[in-house]
């Protein structure tokens, strides 16, 4: 779409949010009218500020983010390594891929009970779930990237007299970066949902826990607050990763963005 047209209609983007907020407030004040059951946006903000002190909130956010980062990094490291190895050594790849493909259909959240049995109710079980959520897409995309390298690029490098090791680092790896990036995006988008779910189900800290705890205390406004907060953080981190990290590093390649 033409850039000018985009600018001209920027106001429309805000209109959507405003409409939603207005409808929300109307339903709350005129329709349901019980702030304990269905608080409007104003009540949500008010109650949240009252009931969740900033320090506690930052604690929750921090813990959740920490778990995500740890799980994601682990998943990325293992995923990329195994992906590249599987792509580079075909026979070994077949062997490695067998258990991976067998385990893939099981959604990461389905691993929670087993993770708790193995790792207890502490940090490691949550990190493990996020690891799984990041590993599969990153591995898959890395492997696909390795296998789908344009042979002409490799041949061109060889005619320029490159040795085997340098070929891997200087040619093959950069060529797979776009696919790895895609895997990152997918993996990250799973990670956030997973950490919240894992915390909902079995944790004593973090944003997911905050929401679940609020439910036990029947503080619906805090639940809503938490939900929106999680959504916002998700959006922001996604945006940061795309714009700052991926687009800068991979200027030479077109990356599809959500924005």
């Amino acid at each position: 779409m033409n850039h000018r047209k985009f600018q001209r209609t920027l106001w429309a983007s805000w209109l959507g949010f405003i409409i939603v907020l207005v409808i929300w407030q109307v339903v709350a004040s005129v329709g349901i009218r019980d702030p304990l059951v269905f608080p409007g946006p104003a009540s949500v903000v008010e109650a949240a500020i009252k009931n969740v002190p900033l320090t506690r909130l930052l604690e929750h956010i921090g813990i959740s983010l920490l778990r995500v980062i740890m799980g994601f990094s682990l998943g990325a490291a293992v995923g990329i390594t195994v992906g590249i190895v599987s792509g580079w050594y075909q026979k070994l790849g077949n062997v490695l891929r067998t258990p991976i493909e067998i385990l893939r259909p099981i959604p990461p959240l389905g691993w929670i009970p087993l993770a708790i049995i193995w790792l207890g109710l502490g940090e490691s079980s949550k990190v493990f779930i996020i690891f799984l959520g990041a590993f599969f897409p990153i591995f898959t995309n890395t492997f696909k990237g390795m296998v789908a390298i344009d042979p002409n690029i490799v041949r061109a490098a060889q005619t320029l007299g490159i040795q085997k090791n340098r070929l891997l680092f200087k040619v093959i790896f950069p060529a797979t970066l776009p696919d790895i990036a895609t895997g990152f995006r997918v993996g990250w988008s799973y990670s956030f949902g997973l950490v919240v779910a894992a915390e909902l189900i079995a944790a004593s800290s973090g944003l997911g826990y905050m929401i679940m705890h609020a439910r036990e205390l029947s503080m619906i406004s805090v639940i809503m607050y938490g939900i929106i907060l999680i959504g916002a953080i998700n959006l922001i981190t996604d945006y940061l990763i795309q714009e700052v990290f991926l687009k800068r590093r991979l200027k030479w390649h077109y990356i599809e963005t959500a924005f």
């Binding site: 033409n2 000018r4 047209k5 001209r8």
Partner: protein, 253 residues
């Protein structure tokens, strides 16, 4: 002059097209274009990419409206697409969810022709473009050349007086392209119509047309006109052919 004489006659009068800067990148795409196409004439507009020839064709088709001037088809101004004009686009214009024969039936179906009549009509056209046996293929199963044949058959299904072709062979490889050029002439000999053809290939223009208009950009306009006075089928290697080529090439830059 009777109505029949005017059938298929296209008059382009002082046509200009200014694109809104907001909408697109062009400014003044074409300016003060004037030419006439005689009934059953094969006219080609040739020019570099971006010279405005496609814009001109789209205006004749009725898909775009001129900012100034008008296009008359036997005396009546063109404001929107109509069944008197059929159009073949460059590529990927066949509806992928319809089989070849169903694509051809699209026009007739749209006006409510009963099923057996339009089936017969479509079969006839399939034969005409040489695709017997491929009626029930999906477009994705057909090669580029075959797809364009179906596109031609589809455009001819409503028996339009005027056939508009926007670089229809541009996406094909050279050999297929040359086959299609011969095919097109064969079909045209079989069912005479006015053809307005757009291309950037001078060789193609000379091979196919009675008359060639050289279009030049900034803003788009007819620079020069050439009558191709060679008997068909034309030899691309003949001296006369190359002479035309040289002349047109000079005028294109």
């Amino acid at each position: 002059m009777t109505d029949d004489d005017a059938r298929g006659k296209v008059e382009v009068k002082n046509v200009s097209k200014q694109f809104d800067i907001e909408d697109s990148d062009q400014g003044l795409a074409i300016k003060d274009v004037n030419f006439t196409v005689q009934p059953n004439e094969f006219l080609t507009i040739v020019g570099r990419s971006g010279c405005g020839k496609s814009t001109m064709l789209n205006i004749i088709a009725g898909l775009l409206n001129p900012t100034e001037g008008e296009v008359l088809i036997h005396g009546k101004p063109v404001t929107e697409p109509g069944l008197d004009r059929g159009m073949v686009f460059q590529s990927a214009s066949l509806f992928p969810w319809l089989r070849a024969i169903e694509n051809i039936e699209f026009g007739p179906r749209n006006i409510g022709m009963p099923k057996d009549k339009r089936r017969e009509l479509a079969r006839d056209l399939i034969k005409l473009v040489g695709l017997e046996g491929f009626e029930n293929k999906w477009p994705r199963e057909l090669s580029g050349g075959m797809q364009q044949r179906v596109a031609i058959a589809r455009a001819m299904a409503m028996d339009p007086e005027i056939l508009l072709m926007d670089e229809p062979f541009g996406a094909l490889d050279q050999l297929t392209r040359e086959d299609m050029q011969r095919e097109l002439l064969r079909i045209w000999e079989n069912r005479r119509k006015t053809v307005i053809f757009v291309t950037h290939s001078i060789l193609e223009a000379i091979y196919l047309s009675d008359r060639v208009l050289v279009f030049c950009p900034h803003p788009g306009n007819v620079r020069k006109e050439f009558e191709i006075d060679l008997p068909r089928p034309r030899q691309k290697s003949s001296t006369e052919y190359m002479a035309y080529y040289e002349e047109i090439y000079e005028n294109i830059s």
